[in-house]
Symmetry: D2
Subunit: 337 residues, 4 copies
């Protein structure tokens, strides 16, 4: 950690900062430059404590050298996190396609969906029973009934199922019915939910918040891991910017950086990023090319009848097309689809 003092800081104020540092067991090494005094600080500073020194009036800035995440960092755990669920493996260099409808709507719809996914070689089906909706007047999902239908579809068709949890109180029951749980973008910093996710055993897909920095994203993963669950899959799903031509700006640069920074698998959600089905195939291909471990896409048996997000849902035949087009990209980057 480095502490930059304001210009013309008095001797006694420098001493005060040094005292404060020593109180916290830091070892201060001050440098008096021509225009600024800078205090180099030796000691472990992975938590938020550096920020405390900003509260001293003569401090201009506090600069951290160490990254605030540790468990999620490749620097400390160089071995890749490989996640196994049944015979599916994520993070070992394969390319995983997770696909399914936005929501569980009816028994018929979800079983039909499972069959379509299975027929296309998809091994994990996504579908939400709890729906985060901007409007209180919109369809809020089938709830626990939806979880049960999802499980039923998974069992009947023979496909793993993945679903979102929003409410801490629903974590245990969701973990009972689904194979993978998802933390949605709006809940990426719902810290109590992250802690609950650390207590279950199934893998967690953690979606990046709409305005979360990469650092905050990794800190959210750190919460889950620190609470006991190492099986975290990061999911880039678009960030909020000034552009309005699409729903969110898919940040594939983040994927490239995450692959350098963390040992956790990284997947991409091109459906929620774009909000438009015609962008899903090109963005999926770019995701594979940039180095992602997989994608999660929305596919609905009949998108026009979808109760939510139909505009971004692929038609079943488009899923087939996606798989066909993405295969040679995966091959080009040395991944097995």
């Amino acid at each position: 950690m480095i502490i930059v003092l304001k210009p013309n800081t008095k001797k006694e104020d420098i001493e005060h900062v040094k005292e404060k540092l020593k109180e916290k067991d830091f070892k201060p090494m001050p440098f008096e430059g021509d225009e600024r005094t800078v205090i180099h600080v030796i000691g472990d500073v992975r938590d938020d404590s550096p920020d405390e020194f900003k509260s001293i009036d003569c401090v201009e800035n506090v600069i951290r050298i160490l990254k605030p995440y540790k468990l999620a960092s490749k620097e400390h755990h160089s071995q890749k996190t490989i996640i196994k669920i049944g015979d599916v493996v994520i993070g070992n260099g394969d390319f995983t396609v997770i696909a399914g409808p936005d929501s569980v709507e009816t028994e018929e719809q979800i079983i039909e969906s499972a069959k379509i996914m299975k027929a296309n070689g998809v091994k994990i089906m996504r579908a939400s029973a709890f729906k985060p909706r901007t409007s209180p007047y919109s369809f809020q999902g089938l709830g626990i009934e939806g979880l049960k239908l999802l499980r039923k579809a998974g069992d009947e068709v023979g496909i793993l199922v993945e679903t979102e949890v929003m409410d801490v109180r629903d974590v245990p029951i969701a973990a009972e019915y689904a194979d993978i749980l998802r933390v949605g973008a709006r809940n990426m910093q719902n810290f109590d939910l992250l802690k609950e996710m650390g207590k279950v055993k199934c893998p967690i897909i953690l979606k990046r918040g709409m305005s979360a920095t990469i650092k905050e994203f990794l800190m959210a993963a750190e919460y889950i891991i620190a609470s006991g669950n190492r099986n975290v899959i990061l999911c880039e799903r678009g960030i909020r910017t000034f552009e309005t031509a699409y729903r969110n700006t898919l940040d594939l640069e983040a994927v490239a950086i995450l692959k350098q920074e963390t040992h956790l698998p990284v997947i991409v959600d091109p459906s929620h990023a774009s909000g438009k089905r015609e962008l899903v195939i090109p963005l999926s291909k770019a995701s594979a090319a940039v180095g992602a471990d997989g994608i999660i896409v929305e596919v609905h048996p009949e998108p026009e009848k979808a109760l939510c997000d139909g505009a971004q849902s692929l038609y079943p035949e488009q899923l087939t097309q996606l798989i066909k087009e993405i295969k040679p990209i995966c091959k080009a980057v040395g991944r097995k689809l």
Copy 2:
């Protein structure tokens, strides 16, 4: 609602859209222009259903005419929402100063804080017992013990107390101990929490999410109101932008628009927006001038000892200065402090 079709849409596809609209009891009125066919739609469309029509391939865009919020809208409820708690009134044209430390730390600290606030004429003290922290390794708040200390300080000193709730399971107990509950920026779209907030009787301060649009902000308020609690106070606290010279960009233009759009009181948090105590006074003055109903600021008996956010906490004498400087502004805009 207006549906814009893609160029060169075929007759049968236009018919298909019209059929879909009629199925949902909308009355379509198509216009064939030179370059686009546009379908004007008559009917009530306050929920998210317009988005469903985007799932039809020949639809280029769906434009909503009505605003999606109703209960929070001045258009439908022209009378100001005035919130009374004991002898404090918010939203009646006065200017309310809510102040206090970031967190409840110790009994001594919170009682000392309450005395400082009271001595400066502040009638509501803020302080968090549950802390949303980016890092799992940082101080997470005293929890229920903190709630009790807060209540004790409020009772002993004679000041109302306000605190944040993050976990749905804590809402009932927090409502028991505090006079006003707060939904933090990170939880603005934690819809389950919003619904729980709708079930309690005390007023709710709803902070704008860091990347929430004004529309989404009002929709979050709509959730609380629709769930049964009309006593919502909106709080602008800075949005996330590209600028890094301060923590967040305080959006006072949003305050001006909210005062036009909604009957709910609107307050401003200049402390969290800026992250720097030297900006709090000028931003507080700007907040009063732009038309806000109040401010919520951080003040700590000894900012250098604060366990969280000391850099943005005012010294007690700065609170006195703030009150002194803001008074003539309030007078200039016709508000009583």
Copy 3:
């Protein structure tokens, strides 16, 4: 164009808007809904004139149906723009790699650079003689002397050369020495420069402004085309967002949309987007996969000695690696490298 009136607009005000519309030769068709009157307007409205109606007090919003660009739009010119310079063709389905150092520094450096590019099969070398620098104290480029060295290198080695122009007064001389001119991101809305670019005959690479919407980007291209030069190549180079882990957020979703919206070729600059050489290869691969017509990357004979942007410049052997890795991706998407 659709004009939405404020709630409870009076009859005479509606008439006033209708009169205004008729004055401008528009044909107004009003609809009185339950909550809003909406005026559907028939007529050509490609310029900014719709905005004028916003100045009328009873107007809540003006919604445009037609896109404001025409010459740049695929809707009006469905045939791809194919750009030929010597034996190089851009926009015909091939994948074009433009590469070179950030700046022309010395004769030796630029000739050495040209040889490296040529040896790697690159047919167009980039290098700036005029440098837009944030600081007036930084290296500002060699100016006209740099243009001459660039031409010399191109001629000696047998490679096309591309360079940036910032000042309208330099357009003619730059067009004399370079084969392709570039409008930098900071000048995307320097309309006088765009007009001058319309007067020269060589192809123009137009970089997207750091905070330009896709619509504004296409309008900037429209300026060049409307001024007489159809040979415009669009270049996505990252947009400014809240993320600070890299320099700019590369917006590959914009590339996917541009390929749908416009007949102009679209290339990507992963070097300036990321600011980090280790991200250039994965982002180049993603650019090819998403459907770009090419990339423009920085390569320097000795990056550590570069006078500008060394951190994002590839080492010569990394260019070889890039070409090697990108080839199978190009093949996978049916493009020839």
Copy 4:
């Protein structure tokens, strides 16, 4: 400057960085921490040279301690810049209102405008002869003819006149006809224009670019000052964010910071920020309260007839109202209007 090396950097690579630093006359002081080696660098580093060290592979980050601007900085020139034009003084603690129509349209319109401004006590009238327009098909301003009409109006009515210059070639003639020149937001980093602005003698209003950081804004001012003209007035006019409820997000926090960082006067443009006349009065009041030295607002004799930006232009009677409402705020903050 501080250079942070990547974890596990080898001894010889540390030596290499040290050598590089010495070559540039910097004095390196390395610290080997547990997880990172950090090199503290003594020496003057105000230009962009620190960035060069990022090009070395073992360098993780380069952190600057000194701010890159010097002439614009209060740290180096603590005395306020006070700008005098005739009997008008800006930056001495008064509050200056600059007002006028968006554009010079006709002789009648601009003379009528000048009379309205004068009648309201306004001493500087704004109006553009050169118009930066997103669309090439929109009104582009009257050009030099407009400059002449503006001068005529100023002389006849007895009011100072201010106007925008976009093209470097127009700077001399504009300086001949106008009393104050303006660099528009889109040209804030048109460095050749900034240099030309440094060569004239009249004051320059420099508008902040839509996505410019405060640092970049001050560096643009530095360009003008370094080129010879110290009379720079900074103008905050809204930044581009995700919010679409208004045109741009007015950043009054930037005003508060600029008043701390620089000796230059700072004014605010609430008209272009909001794009809506109903927001201009509250935002003007907030600007005065936050500490700005003035505002620049659009007022048109007949907004509905304005050729550009009528929606944000005040009616003449609204200017009177604005002056009336802003006066007590100015008094409250100790400024004379």
